[in-house]
Symmetry: C2
């Protein structure tokens, strides 16, 4: 949690953190500022000290609304003069500005840097700053282990409620989509509207974005609505022009966030419209059984990799290839069981078997086993977002039915 930052900085031997970039769609900045319309700027967090946001003069009121200490890079630091001093080199001027900020707040030692920003541009700025301040150690941290990553890994109650609210919106839209699909007619094995025109994946995705916007959510990363062979490739998003068949797996994975770039939710259901072939029924049963077994075995402080290994072993016992015995397999179980979620859709902890993350109380994770057989034209994944509560119970934030078959309403 945010209250852990000072001691995490001490453990990492960091004297300060710099966070660069806007306050939206930039998790480490949003973590400090909240959702705010700060399109440029940077932030300095001093260990056991304050957080200062440095803003553009046009955004002075938005900066003040964050409740942080603020500095105006024009009124307080005369950035135009720094640009002259830097011979109008904007990177050098930025380096001079950062140097002034560090001097004013008497920051020395080791500084960790953050921010989702244009890498090349900021690397040039930091390269200048490193030359100007050879005694200051300006360093990137391992994203999997960084101070802000670790702080964000556990959530307080207000963060949980924001993620849960996104879950309510997400599942409501999933319900809307189910209703929309099943209200269609079937012709030659595909959904058609009243005029007999085929419904396409593009039509459905447009509706998803619309219904999310109606409920105040944003969908910056799109959604997966993948049918048949596409469903057999976990990150295939589906082909917009494809029609929607009955009796084939549809993997519907939706991961919207709060409007303005806040907390995410992540959710997947696999559906067969009208009916499901026997082999799909069997695969679905395998995934659901593994979901329930691994979910109920997740415990606080358990190594995340143990859950991933258990998932692989359960699938292998049922005859499915997995990444445990063949890391390069593209059939069977081909990804991780889970990932943390919050201000980024993928964040710590990691369930990659190569890493040592443990599941801390207060974490929010997905649970998402799946099986994929692209050459057989099918894929199945079931995913919920769940909170490891302080009392050790893993709570699905929003419950939603796990039915494979959606009966057509006219049937």
């Amino acid at each position: 949690m945010k209250t852990d930052i000072d001691h995490l900085m001490k453990e990492a031997d960091l004297d300060a953190l710099f966070v660069f970039g806007p306050a939206s769609h930039n998790a480490p900045m949003t973590y400090f500022t909240g959702l705010a319309h700060l399109s440029v700027g940077f932030l300095l967090k001093i260990r056991d000290g304050k957080v200062i946001h440095f803003h553009n003069p046009m955004e002075r009121e938005e900066a003040a609304a964050t409740g942080l200490e603020t500095k105006d890079i024009y009124a307080d630091y005369d950035f135009p003069a720094l640009l002259e001093q830097a011979n109008r080199d904007s990177n050098m001027a930025q380096a001079l500005l950062l140097e002034k900020a560090l001097a004013e707040y008497k920051v020395h030692g080791r500084i960790g840097i953050y921010g989702k920003i244009e890498f090349g541009h900021w690397l040039r700025t930091i390269d200048f700053l490193r030359i100007k301040l050879p005694d200051v150690d300006i360093l990137g941290e391992d994203m999997l282990r960084s101070v802000i990553t670790q702080a964000r890994m556990t959530k307080d109650e207000s963060e949980i409620e924001r993620i849960r609210a996104m879950g309510r919106i997400t599942t409501a839209v999933v319900g809307d989509v189910a209703g929309f699909l099943t209200s269609h007619r079937v012709k030659d094995g595909y959904l058609v509207n009243r005029e007999g025109e085929q419904l396409t994946i593009g039509n459905v995705k447009r509706k998803i974005n619309l219904w999310l916007a109606m409920r105040g959510a944003e969908n910056p990363k799109g959604s997966i609505f993948a049918v048949g062979r596409d469903a057999g490739i976990p990150h295939s998003t589906g082909t917009d022009s494809d029609p929607i068949p009955v009796g084939q797996t549809i993997v519907f994975d939706i991961y919207p966030c709060e409007a303005g770039g806040g907390y995410f939710y992540d959710f997947t259901r696999t559906w067969c419209l009208d009916h499901a072939p026997d082999d799909v029924l069997q695969i679905y049963e395998d995934v659901l059984e593994v979901y329930e077994t691994v979910y109920s075995a997740i415990r606080p402080h358990k190594p995340c990799r143990d859950s991933q290994i258990q998932t692989c072993e359960l699938f292998e016992a049922k005859g499915h290839p997995t990444v445990l015995s063949n890391p390069l397999t593209t059939e069977g179980y081909v990804h991780s069981l889970a990932h943390g979620i919050g201000l980024d859709v993928h964040e710590a902890p990691s369930f990659n078997i190569k890493f040592d993350d443990v599941l801390l109380p207060g974490s929010v994770i997905t649970v998402e086993p799946g099986l994929y057989y692209p050459d057989r034209g099918l894929g199945v994944r079931i995913e919920d977002t769940a909170w490891m509560r302080p009392d050790g119970v893993l709570e699905t934030l929003v419950e939603f039915p796990k039915d494979l078959i959606l009966k057509m309403q006219g049937a």
Copy 2:
């Protein structure tokens, strides 16, 4: 344009470019891949040579659909083995991967890097790579002058049509908002609905997002809908809980992009509902007159700063303070006349008087003079997006009326 990249690389003495990160909301990557669901990965552009995208195995089909040469970081480079070799340090494993890619494609010399990504994490990777490859110069470029910035500064016909299509969506939504506002009743100087409840800025912003989504656009940066004193601060986005008065300036600035993170449009109108006070009428007339004068004076190959200086001089002749005589002023004309727009809402050319950009044929820019008097509770800005055509005509991509006063429909 993209076809300029090889000679721009030669001018910058760069042998290759690395672009890191996803293909959405990451302009330098989207520039090469098009809109694609590539959530991770990187790209190598070799001077006078090919473009190779390196992808995650789960995204192999999405990568192939880009039409670029592709490499699978698992199947082709055995990333899990690199992670072992790196003692499970993910940054070191990334550095090993980049090293292998450079070796395979025989890249030496100077490499420019790009990508909107988590800075600290990638800095650590690049710091490792710099140690491993001391003879390779891995460098950030000045964002205002970089190869990809310069290439993107001029657009081809297909890019123009995509920006224009976003302009049609944007102005259609602006028309919807005007109709929505003026369909309300007025009570005690504020808009109310049929039940007599005050309409708020939050209500309007929700509608804006909904109507954009209905038309297939995305609004990742929100919009400005700022009234009264907020309108007097150029980047104030407005206060969601505020009601909407008649007879005060409303600055409505909207800058959506193609769903999935593509091309932007940028557009502002200032409205007074029902009527406008005399001082607002005068300020509006000043802005509109300056808009028309500077717009008609914009020529291809003209230094951008000349247009900014002309704007300042015109406003000062009318008695308004400007950033020309006082760079720190927060009253009068307080920003730049214009900016380039494309895959980023703000891109080259810059109209900052400190820089030497000239307006090349093929550029797309905003034109957006404004006047701001926060202590008088008013602000006015008029903005269109325009294309400097190859024939030297500056064409507003989508025309829209510039009326200040919106008459209430019931009046």
